[in-house]
Subunit: 125 residues, 2 copies
DNA sequence: ATTCTAATGCAACAATGTTGCAAAAGTAAT
DNA sequence: ATTACTTTTGCAACATTGTTGCATTAGAAT
């Protein structure tokens, strides 16, 4: 059977994402790592961290994919919270406590949600 | 001053998007046009249609950019409606009547929202 | 230390989007 | 209809993002 291994790349990337208070993109991670490992390795590590449930993936309003640590969802792994994307400082943050409500027409079965608001964050306001 | 022109490409692309009841991606549009114009031209026409306010842009949960006609927003141009992305038939539709509610922490200024639910649409349920 | 195989690096590729520039084609005026 | 003006297009080239195959490296268990 398949056993995961702890490698320098994985440890470092995981640390970066979980420690950060904003979601990070692949290129931002790459810059931070500063040549520690290959571009491709970053993609593969992110894939593994997603599978493990250590991080989650956010597609920003501009289509840029970002990754953030899973904090509140350690027990039940759900991501039904809002993300906020600041148009000025470009930071994407998880508003873990905000759950939106809505009323769908009949016969839709929802299994996932992706809700991102953009505007100005408290720091930039 | 700059005056827009009606060209075959623009007319055709606009027609495609506005007529369609699902949002279309660049590649889907390209396939439909079947060589009517260059790939780059499609990008540029889409840009113009967005500026004009004829269409709006949706970033799907998988990061794929799609375009849909503006129907309900002819008067006040707002896109505060939910989009639904079917995991089976891959159709992305605008649920124009559904406006979500949520309660943000203090000091956030929202100027745009992007809300996409995914799951199964009525046709695929 | 040995063995097994997960993880990495590298090269190559695919998809998506952007830019510069010369040629083509709308539009308005004559 | 012809001319003049300038938007729009096509093409080539490029940038970015993400994926895949394969040989090599290096965790982890024995």
């Amino acid at each position: 059977m398949k056993t995961a291994r702890n490698t320098a790349a994985k440890t470092e990337i995981q640390d970066l994402i979980v420690t950060s208070n904003v979601a990070l993109s692949h290129s931002e991670i790459q810059k931070s790592l500063d040549g520690l490992c290959d571009r491709v390795t970053i993609y593969r590590v992110l894939e593994r961290l997603l599978e493990e449930g250590t991080i989650h993936k956010i597609v920003n309003v501009d289509g840029v994919v970002k990754y953030a640590g899973c904090h509140s969802c350690s027990k039940k792994h759900s991501h039904n919270h809002i993300h906020f994307s600041c148009q000025k400082c470009k930071a994407v943050t998880c508003l873990e406590d905000v759950e939106p409500s809505y009323k769908l027409p009949k016969n839709y079965k929802v299994s996932e949600m992706n809700f991102t608001l953009s505007g100005l964050c408290p720091q930039c306001l």
